[in-house]
């Protein structure tokens, strides 16, 4: 599976998941930038990663501002933003990535040759602005009506 196909499929998966499960219309931004440029260093970010193995191995990641997490968690659970708790917000990020990764591979890997792991939160210290440059991989930059997020894939060469 080539990277280009994987990334194009990821864009479709992100749109489908964000709109169907989180009622969050999104637009893919095709501008060529880095994660450090995409996110302000004042933004508090949360993130998750999901490992996969098979003919291609690596991990998918998902980075999202804390404020937007509250919004999508509220949409997902049918609550008001201030009614969501930290556990629900953390769970939502992991589940969002789980659905994006799973949907992506189901669209481009009909043989089911890729096995997905269990989504995990990325430690907060690893997604501080100054460390975003250390995330090496292909990234999709996504805009919502009043915020933005990013998702990507890091593939390991075999």
């Amino acid at each position: 599976m080539d990277k280009k196909t994987m990334m194009e499929t990821m864009k479709v998966a992100i749109s489908n998941v964000m709109e169907t499960m989180f009622f969050q219309p999104v637009q893919i931004n095709d501008k060529n930038c880095t994660l450090q440029e995409w996110f302000s260093d004042k933004e508090s970010l949360l993130g998750a990663k999901l490992n996969f193995t098979g003919p291609s191995s690596g991990s998918c990641y998902f980075l999202i501002p804390a404020k937007l997490v509250s919004e999508i968690t509220a949409n997902f659970l049918g609550l008001e933003k201030d009614e969501t708790n930290e556990g629900q917000r953390r769970d939502t990020i992991k589940e969002a990535l789980n659905m994006i990764g799973g949907h992506m591979f189901s669209l481009c890997d009909n043989e089911g040759a890729i096995s997905l792991g269990i989504p995990e939160l990325i430690e907060e210290k690893n997604i501080k602005s100054y460390r975003l440059g250390e995330i090496k991989g292909e990234t999709v930059f996504i805009e919502t009506e009043d915020s933005h997020l990013a998702a990507g894939v890091i593939t390991e060469m075999k």
Binding site: T73, F76, L77, E95, G102
Partner: protein
């Protein structure tokens, strides 16, 4: 007639969503039971009467496929319908689940209607239609 539903998913948010969809769809549910993985599910199944299981596949400790295998080994559990609700959408995984004895397969992301239709086809539409108060699109979800 009401039935007991066991929802198995390591995401508590996903369990809450599925529960909400089933509730607003008007099925006559007696009791909702929840488990975070296959092992917990088996413990509940050994202790409580359950009419249908909805399970994720990728979970820690025991995944959804392993759960079906264990259920099919048990004389009492083997007849309980199992619906997979999972991000795994490849033909191969679906076939694997059906070969193991799954009764239905819903891929995430899903619409409330997908869960409702699958449950109706397995449990019969009677409860969903009789108890539902008008909105056929899944209530206020």
């Amino acid at each position: 007639m009401s039935f007991n539903v066991l929802i198995v998913d390591d995401s508590s948010s996903m369990r809450a969503i599925i529960k909400k969809i089933i509730k607003v769809s008007g099925f006559g549910v007696g009791e909702f039971l929840e488990a975070a993985d296959g092992k917990e599910a088996l413990e509940i199944l050994a202790d409580k009467w359950v009419d249908i299981v909805l399970t994720d596949i990728n979970m820690p400790n025991m995944n959804g496929m392993e759960l079906i295998v264990e259920m099919k080994k048990d004389e009492l559990m083997r007849s309980i319908p199992v619906v997979m609700v999972t991000t795994e959408g490849s033909e191969k995984k679906m076939q694997e689940a059906m070969d193991l004895g799954a009764s239905g397969y819903v891929t995430k992301p899903f619409l409330p209607e997908d869960i409702k239709k699958t449950l109706s086809s397995i449990m019969g539409e009677e409860d969903g239609q009789k108890n539902h108060d008008g909105d056929d699109e899944g209530g206020d979800f």
